[in-house]
Amino acid sequence: MTHTTHGATDDGPGIDALDVAHAFPALAQRVRGHRLVYLDSASTSQTPQVVIDAINTAYIELRANVHRGVHTLSARATDAYETARDRVAQLVGAESPRDIVFVSGATAAINLVAHAWGDANVGAGDEIVVTTMEHHSNLVPWQQLCERTGATLRAAPLDERGAVDMSAYGKLLGSRTKLVALAHVSNALGTVNPVRAMVAMAHDVGAVAVVDGAQAAPHLRVDVREFGCEFYALSGHKMYGPTGIGALYGAPDVLAAMPPHHAGGGAIERVTLQRTRFAGVPQRFEPGTPNIVGAVGLAAALDFIHKIGTQAIEAHERALLRYATAAIDDIDQCRRIGTAAPAAAVCSFVVRGVHPHDVATILDERGVAVQAGHHCAQPVMEHFGVPATVRMSLGVHNTRTDIDVLIAGIRAAVEVMAR
């Protein structure tokens, strides 16, 4: 894939979206006789050829276990795996690759924190603060932690635009708050939270901050040291990488003090039948054979993103989101759900008189992939008083033409279903 930099184009400065689209073999397919228009990247992203190639090569050239072997293939696999860890550290702005734990995804990352950090540090009478916009993966683990420990869960409300009510958030924080969990970007609404400010407010009351970056890392610059958060979670499959791999950033002193959650080979320093001394970080949190090929694929995806450039991606998607939201606002029957600014990559809406499932099906008949439902964010739906929305979400490969096809499909849905 060539990286071409233009002046300001229709697709935003610094990116040739059609060029980028050609990097994704999946986008060449037809769906129900139409060109695939993939607008569901918030659910999972498409995979560039370079990532597919890296995975295939890994299966041929470095199919060996990591950290354990003496032979050449094992050294190669270990090197590739640790290089991938390095890449993730660079992406998120961590000080050292030792601050990065490979897990199966953002959900696993958050659960790891809830168990390994939560069980050791949270007790009866403590409080955990989340926001109402959280994906269920950054909500349910904290509910369960509260059930296990006798702590209380508090949720910061949203305003009518779908942004966190910062004044209410501040009031929820207090001396009992042990941990705050918040999304960097809302998967249902696209709202970008003021992470740095929210983390600082958590620190003011002595709480640690866990940031769910699953929806942010594909679209925005991440700098965990600038944010100051103790934990940051991301998923490979949301950022052009393979499924089954993700990463947890942990601030070094926090990780070092954290006991392991799952136990097994590779996470130990010394084992006897009676007792085990655990390894240092991050190996302590990576028992068993990891998703080696997945990590290599993730590294290739990060290289892909790096070659285009985070700023170029941000600018392209911002311009495209603006184009899309304006076009959706132009349809009488459409009402956007979530209108906060800044927003990234996601637009949720409802269509008067047409159920989201019917909109999504009519779009599917035209080759357009969107998601209809509650998007694993039922509290968000409840806040807006809707059972479900239609959600379109952008990837780096989307173009204005994609949006035009989407809009034509929505108008068709209105015409077909109007009562």
């Binding site: 047409v354 159920h355 989201p356 499932h357 019917d358 099906t361 009519i362 008949e365 439902g373 059972p387």
Partner: protein, 160 residues
């Protein structure tokens, strides 16, 4: 304009029959699918083992509304056993198994939904709610059917 939403389905979606809630039902149930947010409320009046009156209400997609509407027309004077057998035939049709199309009549229009396997449960939800209602003794509290946790007979095998 659409392969799925043919004119019968659209007609019943736009002007659904027997919409609302009976004043004094003998049997009631709500069927819902937590995955998509479809909800169907069925209220029935049974006399001498046969459905004398039925109404359907709730929020749901066009397929759910259309199916509910067609159901209310189809089950006049039916017994609980008739309902279960028809539901089984409908599921056979949707799962591309040999189905009793004579019994199904108008309901055969739903075979177009086979092209959209993610929508099959929208069609059967009202029927499951009705079957659940009729399983209770007359005068029971409103029963519930959860499409997500219930065992499905809709397995169609892999699609190409």
């Amino acid at each position: 304009m659409s392969d799925l939403y043919d004119k019968i389905i659209l007609a019943h979606h736009r002007a659904p029959q027997n919409r609302g809630r009976l004043d004094s039902p003998t049997h009631e149930a709500v069927g819902y699918n937590p995955v998509c947010g479809d909800e169907v409320q069925v209220s029935v009046q049974v006399a001498d083992n046969r459905i004398e009156d039925i109404q359907v209400d709730g929020t749901g997609c066009a397929l759910c509304r259309a199916s509910g509407s067609l159901m209310t027309v189809h089950v006049r004077r039916a017994t609980a056993a008739d309902v279960s057998v028809t539901l089984q035939s409908l599921e056979d049709l949707l799962a591309a198994r040999p189905a009793d199309t004579d019994r199904l009549g108008d309901l055969a229009v739903f075979q177009v939904v086979r092209e959209h396997p993610m929508r099959l449960k929208c069609v059967t939800l009202p029927w499951h709610a009705l079957e659940t209602a009729l399983l209770q003794p007359a005068g029971s509290m409103r029963a519930e059917y959860n499409a997500w946790t219930a065992r499905s007979r809709l397995s169609t095998g892999r699609r190409g």
